[in-house]
Amino acid sequence: MITAERKPLSEIHEMIAPYRKILVVGCGTCVAECAAGGEKEVGLLASALRMDAQRAGRDLDIKEVTLDRQCVYEFIDQLTEFIEQYDVVLSLGCGAGVQAVAEVFPKAIIVPALNTTFVGETKEVGLWVEKCRGCGDCKLGFFAAVCPITSCAKGLFNGPCGGSQDGQCEVDPDTPCAWQLIITRLEEVGGLDRLKKIHPPADWSKQQGRGPRKIMREDQKI
């Protein structure tokens, strides 16, 4: 899922400082999974903002809403009924969610409560790890399902580098060396020969695009 973390309250506070009526909008998908922007987190943030305002003698009117997915217009439309009653929308969606809401309601002021980070997996409860950099040219089949771009700090396709130690990366000793993992997995299935081939340079244009990338599917259009 897409992972994110809540911005420090001081930053959020600054963004909403000029406003009195705040619509706090969460998302029930990715950011709920990583405990950053789901219904619970909306509740926590709203509660904190209310208490903060109360102590400062300010009068805040906060509404809490959580959409199933904040990146799909169909769900965002649910805000139409009441969005105009609020001065600002504090979105707990990922970057895509925040911008989608802004597109549906171009006159509204929308600010992000989260810092969107990476595409990752829930490795264990409370631990999310980056797994994919969206290179648009998945090579997992060549590397025993370990992404060399994401999991190797130097993005080597013909690793490991000379700093791999005890199965850990030289850059961060808490991070496993991706190439150690690839080699171990291949050794276990007798597939080390696959690494003899020199993997050629990537086509980074698939990741970088010419500005924001798009996917268009005519068969999906109504």
Binding site: A153, P160, C161, G163, Q180, L192, P201, W204
Partner: protein, 307 residues
Amino acid sequence: MRGESRLKKVLQGGSFTVTAECGPPKGADPEAIRKKGGILKGFVDSVNVTDNQTGVVRLSSLAACAILLQDGLDPILQMVTRDRNRIALQSDILGASALGIRNILCLSGDHQSFGNQPQAKGVFDIDSMQLIQLVRQMRDDGMLLGGEKLTEPPHLFVGAVENPFADPLSYRVLRLEKKVTAGAEFIQTQCIYNLVRFKEWMEQVVDRGIHEKVSILGGITPLKSARMAAYMSDHVAGMNIPDEIINRMKSVPADEQREEGIQIAVETIQALKGIKGIHGIHIMAIEWEEVVPQLVEKAGLAPRPAV
């Protein structure tokens, strides 16, 4: 300018070859390089210039090599893939050759988080293996990546590095083989203190006949102090310093430790001379280039052959 690689000539001539490393200054002063070059000249066959080693900004390897060339040395351009994309790399390869530089060492480079610019974007457009292959393609096929023809191919002797002491150990020989397949013509290894482990690695290398396809230079770094030994052992990834060596350094009073470090280095060099498949040494005397001449002399490797 159409010189030839002295490194290549000495290796092909069969002499036990000596290369050394030279660290450029953290400033724009060419004299710093000239001075180091002056110390090394005549005692080594070729000089590596590091490329923003450890991610610390220094005078560029390309410029430093050009300066050393002017002073009559045979420089080895170190090129890391951390800082430049394929456009810049290929461009610098052509530029190096045009300046008369005749040797290149291809590396991925230390991660940018280690240096003084940790906020920099690490490029890593291609890796060291792909770079080796690329230089060979430019030189031998006169072609850029993508196939376009060059008006004049670069003339470069291509090298790479290997660390026999890094994990996964079992894979290190296969990786060396892969670099040779990619086109590496000479190899400089990480500095050697653990001769037992190194001999094991070389036995496997010779077993696979790799020593006949590539020239291997064993890395040597003289220890300055017991503290340096302990530090390197604990903090430098891929470094293997046996306890006997650390203890040996510790057993000597502080003002004699440099001598001891030099002695250990000389002994290591003598040992390397006797290992099958070793074609020479690569001395990495970090910020201690002054020690190279006496090291070379004590190891009986001076004077260098005329080619």
